[in-house]
Amino acid sequence: MEINPILQNVLAPPVLFFLIGAISVLFKSDLEIPAPLPKLFSLYLLLAIGFKGGIEIQRSGFTDQVLPTLSAAILMSLLIPLIGFLILRFKFDVFNSAAIAAAYGSISAVTFISAESFLESQKIAFDGFMVGALALMESPAIIVGLLLVKFAAPKNRPKSRKMHLSAILHESLLNGSVYLLLSSLIVGFLTASSNPSGIAKMEPFTGQLFYGAECFFLLDMGIVAAQRLPRLKNAGSFLIGFAIFMPLFNAFIGVFVARFLSLGPGNALLFVVLCASASYLAVPAAMRMTVPEAKSSYYISTTLGLTFPFNIVLGIPIYMSLVNTIIPLSPL
């Protein structure tokens, strides 16, 4: 693996702004992006990426690759939490293991966006339907996490309330970020199919502005991640190791699945990044609600404080090397 792509990734504006944010915390600068401004950018990015993905899907149509890829994506988001759970059980109780595992089975939209920006800067093509995979991978891991609790937890959870399946489905499918991403995808699709002039009128907002808004949001994410990092100390070295090892492990499985699916390098990277990233939007919301026994600082600090920065700064170029190494091999 060369060092060059990592450096090139680090020198792109979004990553630089991420680092600026993180360094500001290190130096105790009082730089601050007050709530609810980060929410504005978070909503905007979900809306824009969904809208653009919907347009792309309508344009390219449902090719042979779409269905297998989306199915594999869902499978991965069911499988990863199971593996994660088994690993985490060495050190943690059922509740914490299930909650953390669910976070790693789910995805991070901003990591996905960063991978897209990386591909664009490398002039590597990718398909819009991968946004569909992004949207579909957010929820299943939540359901697995909750089922794990339901079946593996001691029968009489002292603090527990009955976990209705409908509540689980509601939390996982109608979480604000899942809902906005999916519905913006549908809006994009409908616009492209019935109202193509609307695309050009949306383009300055959802297209041209996107890169800058991504930078601004990553500036905030840098601040947030660096504020979380010190809290990881309480989590212990096992969890710290997990937060780096698990994405790499997931990426490794992901790249072989991508090869099996005959994805091109661009789609393959996005697939791998979806496997390797961990959720800090939908999953914490669902876990807090349904598994209050789990310590939130475990699943939030690891995903935001370590896995997210790792993926943004080092992970994406590493995964690209992985893709470039594994995918061109003779077919499985």
Partner: protein, 95 residues
């Protein structure tokens, strides 16, 4: 007139449930302040939680009579012990 002031602090995500409890007990009114942060025995809630799926805290103030508080005590305690949060009563005299 002797009145009570009830202060409730808990996660924003439980706000709807708590308000339902208040309404069922027929409180004369309530005030909600969102975007509160803090630390309790179980959790640290910081401002950056607002954009993650976790949300921040709500601070609810209710001025009402003691008997209304008695009516809703069990329900509120139940919610707060499950999800975390605090509830305190103090004296308050209408101006």
């Amino acid at each position: 007139m002797k009145m009570k002031r009830l202060d409730l602090i808990f996660s924003e995500r439980e706000l709807d449930a708590i308000i339902k409890t208040l309404e069922k007990a027929n409180v004369p009114g309530y005030t909600v302040m969102k975007h509160a942060t803090g630390r309790g025995p179980e959790r640290v809630v910081t401002e950056d939680m607002e954009f993650t799926g976790y949300g921040s805290n709500a601070h609810v103030i209710v001025f009402c009579e003691q008997e209304i508080i008695d009516k809703m005590r069990d329900n509120i305690r139940d919610d707060l012990s499950y999800y975390g949060g605090v509830a305190y009563i103090s004296e308050a005299t209408p101006l």
